[in-house]
Amino acid sequence: MNAQFLLGKIIRSVITLWITVSLAFVLLRLAGDPAEALIPPDAGPEVVEYYRVKWGFDKPIHVQYFKYFGALVRGDFGFSLHTGKPVHDIVFQKVPNTLLLGGTAFLIALFVGIPLGVLAALKRNSLIDRVVMSFSVFAFAMPNFFFGLLLILSAAMIFHTFVGAGELTFWSLILPACTLGLANVGSLARFTRSTVLETLNKPFMAAALAKGVGMSRRIVHHALPNAAIPIVTLLGLSLGGLIAGSVVTETVFGWPGVGSLLIRAVQTRDLGVVQFIVLMVASTMTAVNLMVDLLYLVIDPRIRVK
């Protein structure tokens, strides 16, 4: 039964991926002739035509699509139009950096956002609650690029160092990670607060108190598992986004990750690279979604099928 459930989920994920990749393919082709964008404007029309034929842009779109898809299924993701290198080589070179940044930001969100939310819920309507909630509104109201710039400037003023510009030091990691994590801390704290509050008001929490169960056990064992479902949903969404790379933060800090690569690839119409990144983002998103669905089963016995 559970295997069947899992199979259904996987099939649905594969369909989602296929739709995303196809849409990206069609949209990128409709956005203008890549050959013209890539070739310097002073080159003659015959040069452009040469490359158009070489890259297959002269063929009807469905022929290009089937060719691309056939290669994809065989594990051939194509070449960069720019450098001629295989796209997966180019992208995977950047993935560890993005993972490092995204992972750190995720941990910050997790270990700051959830405890803050729980704390606010427990101290409802107190000063602590108000401070936490104001902070969380500030955190997700603040645009990433602006907060990033602020951090860079402050670091420069206080420590007389200039971080960024693509180096890989502790400081060059922690500042973008904070920037990226901050927005997630805000939404996560707010979300955690409301779902924990809702759980705290449930009769079974009063029943646990009536049993003489201590405060910490009541929160960790009785409340959190029941508050977890919405939190896990939100975590899944933000994890997907973090792993796929943050275009804005990476660009502001000059972090050499997938995000900045994507910007460059789009600017230069490097279709192969863009398509591969889209495919990768879509895959991580669906994979995380699938994981979240499976986590539901672990968390809530009522969802488990008999």
């Binding site: 009769p203 029943a207 108190l209 009536a210 049993k211």
Partner: protein, 704 residues
């Protein structure tokens, strides 16, 4: 006895909630003593503060509640002065609480074993194995079969009755000195409730546990408690022993409550219910002097609205009987007949509804792998199986049964919200069982209307009352002219005894009883020939419910409407219906005139149902029949008689294997049972009421 000092001693307790609107006194000057082994009942309507008292004893008032003054002494120690840790040690070990809804008070994501074993593991230094042994033993004590399976289950895998037994086991695990029960059986079916009530009584007797039993149900309090406290608007208005208070209620409110509940002696024509007028005051709208003043028939201006009224000892009563009334000695409550004025019975007219072999099956599609392989994908739920009955003009037909009996499904088919699977429903000469409501003419729809159970959810919160009723009149093509519609709405408001300016109000400005009156006005807008009332008063408080019930019957009398009254409450059914249909698991077990149903021969299920309903009259004798087990799932009903799994009169194999025959006990009285009629006729009546002369007792007087 030996231990004379009380377990719990509450003195002059005042509890307030602090909101933005200011301080709201929830409980005022509350005193209570609980002795070892004693069961105290606290009874009152919603908002009277009874649950607040329980929360104060648990010292769990929420963020904005607080004890303003007074003390709560548990075994001599003042709980209001204790530290959080001291309180934690008391809770669950010395004082345990059982909450209203069993399902809600069990944590859905923890196994039963975790939730039960937690209690001894928290309070005693014992090993996990010992804790497990203890829980298995207590589960046997609360008569749950197969404790190992229960322990490994999650709450949602158990039935309501099983869940409540688990919750009770949880309360009793550490053998507390005091057990608080806040409406412990309100969410359960009556026959299940009867079993739970007996279980609580047996166990607390066995362990000598003191109990505080909070309920809105006077009958239940009578059956379970030694002493009772009646609360009204935050204060106790009367207290005394069960015997004394139920036989000689002194406070006009207590007395009024008894006039509101349909006791077996009440009769809708000869001795109708006497509702208390008005409604419970909100905490910040409490009147000067006596809080009950504005609703009291014995109110005297200048006296009852002066100083706040204190509790006063009822002189001449041996039992410790007190009331908060200045005039308890002057008013002749006994001389006055508690029931309202007699009314003429309505004549029963021509046939309005005929149900012939009506069936409603639902298909449940199981998409699991196993089901697909074995070919059992589609299973049928027989929600209604061969229903037969007739209703006449002006008649009140009650459909009685517990959850899952199919009574609501039948109402849906009748309304056209679902279509029948087989058989016929003939309403005013037309077959309607297969016509969904969308295909019915507006005349058909308006002549068959419904009053819903929950008045809180059935009115659109964003529209005025007037526009909601006008809309019904327009929809049914009764009137097109705007002014005439307005006139009609005004008349309807008069009919349901609401002020005319309610036309411009919105539902949130109305109380529950007022909302239900609007629900009734809406149902009667199209002058229906038949109204289905699905538990119309079960969500309302006793005093309000009586008024709404009376109103419904008055309108029915006037319009000669056929009323199909769906209920689980046999006392109300006995009171207002002419004919009764008793259903169990989709089948009609017995049908007949009300008198026939309430006297032998009974169907064994009717008999058990009668015994299960608590009656708030200490002089009525009742034979105790406690059914074992739970109501089977309609997905998997027993093969033979649907009641065979729980029947206390099961005669053998035949009950399990063969569907019982319809036996004709008298004209229009049918019993579906294998037991021969002669045997059923020999059964003693469940309820016996002493005749009037034997009922007049004198209060025991104090020997001076």
């Amino acid at each position: 006895m030996e231990n004379q000092s009380p377990i719990l001693d509450i003195k002059n307790l005042c509890i307030s909630y602090y909101t933005r609107a200011g301080e709201i006194p929830a409980v005022v000057d509350f005193s209570l003593e609980v002795k070892q082994g004693e069961t105290i009942g606290i009874v009152g309507e919603s908002g009277c503060g009874k649950s607040t008292v329980a929360m104060a004893i648990m010292q769990h008032m929420g963020a904005n509640g607080g004890i303003k003054s007074g003390s709560i002494k548990f075994k001599g120690r003042d709980m209001t002065q204790m530290s959080a840790e001291e309180l934690r040690q008391l809770r669950g070990s010395e004082i345990a609480m059982i909450y209203q809804e069993p399902f809600a008070s069990l944590n859905p994501s923890l196994k039963i074993s975790t939730q039960l074993m937690e209690v001894p593991l928290t309070h005693e230094s014992i090993s996990v194995d010992e804790a497990r042994q203890r829980t298995i033993q207590i589960l046997a004590d609360v008569k749950l079969p197969d404790p190992e399976r229960i322990l490994n289950s999650y709450p949602h895998q158990l039935s309501g009755g099983q869940q409540q037994r688990v919750v009770i086991a949880m309360g009793l695990l550490s053998n507390p000195a005091l057990l608080l029960l806040d409406e412990p059986t309100t969410a359960l079916d009556v026959t299940v409730e009867a079993g739970i009530v007996k279980l609580i009584a047996d166990i607390s007797k066995k362990y000598g546990t003191s109990q505080i039993y909070i309920s809105h149900n006077l009958g239940l309090i009578l059956e379970t408690c030694d002493r009772v406290f009646v609360m009204y608007s935050g204060e106790v208005v009367e207290e005394g022993t069960i015997d004394s208070l139920f036989t000689w209620p002194r406070h006009p409110y207590t007395h009024g409550l008894f006039g509101c509940i349909p006791l077996p002696t009440a009769d809708k024509n000869a001795a109708p219910l006497k509702p208390i007028r008005g409604q419970l005051p909100l905490p910040f709208e409490r009147p000067q002097g006596c809080y009950f003043g504005p609703r009291c028939d014995h109110f005297v201006q200048g006296r009852c609205d002066g100083e706040h009224v204190e509790m006063e000892q009822i002189k001449g009563s041996a039992a410790d009987h007190r009331a908060r009334c200045l005039r308890w000695n002057e008013i002749e409550i006994d001389a006055e007949i508690p029931e309202g004025a007699a009314k003429a019975a309505i004549e029963v007219g021509k046939r309005v509804l005929e149900v012939k072999k009506m069936k409603k099956y639902y298909e449940v599609v199981n998409n699991s792998f196993n089901a697909i392989i074995s070919g059992n994908r589609v299973r049928q739920v027989k929600a209604n199986e061969e229903l037969n009955f007739i209703a006449h003009e002006g008649e009140t037909v009650a459909i009685v049964g517990e959850s899952g009996c199919g009574k609501s499904t039948f109402a849906k088919v009748l309304m056209g919200l679902e279509t029948g699977t087989d058989g016929e429903i003939i309403h005013k000469g037309n077959e309607i069982s297969e016509i969904p409501v969308k295909s019915r003419s507006s005349g058909q729809i308006s002549s068959l209307q419904m009053v819903f159970q929950n008045p809180f959810d059935t009115l659109n919160p964003s529209q005025t009352i007037g526009s909601q009723i006008s809309r019904v009149i327009k929809m049914f093509d009764i009137e097109k002219n705007k002014d005439k519609i307005y006139e009609m709405v005004m008349k309807l408001l008069d009919t349901v005894k609401l002020p005319r300016d309610f036309y411009y109000r919105r539902p949130r400005q109305l109380s529950g009883g007022q909302k239900q009156r609007i629900g009734i006005a809406r149902a009667f807008a199209g002058n229906p020939s038949m109204v289905i009332a699905d538990e119309p008063v079960s969500a309302l408080d006793v005093s309000v419910a009586a008024a709404v019930t009376e109103l419904l019957m008055e309108i029915q009398r006037e319009h000669k409407t056929t009323l199909l009254f769906i209920s689980h409450d046999l006392s109300v059914v006995r009171y207002l219906s002419d004919r009764v249909v008793v259903m169990y698991l989709g089948q009609i077990m017995e049908r007949g005139d009300t008198d026939q149903i309430f006297s032998p021969p009974y169907h064994p299920y009717t008999e058990a149902l009668l015994s299960a309903v608590p009656i708030a009259d200490p002089e009525v004798n009742k034979r105790e029949i406690v059914l074992e087990g739970n109501i089977p799932s309609p997905l998997n009903p027993p093969k033979g008689c649907p009641f065979s799994t729980r029947c206390h009169r099961r005669i053998g194999e035949i009950c399990d294997s063969q569907p019982p025959p319809d036996q004709l006990a008298a004209e229009r009285h049918v019993i579906k049972c294998h037991i021969p009629l002669e045997e059923l006729e020999k059964i003693e009546p469940v309820i016996s009421i002493p005749d009037a002369s034997a009922r007049i007792r004198k209060p025991e007087t104090v020997s001076q």
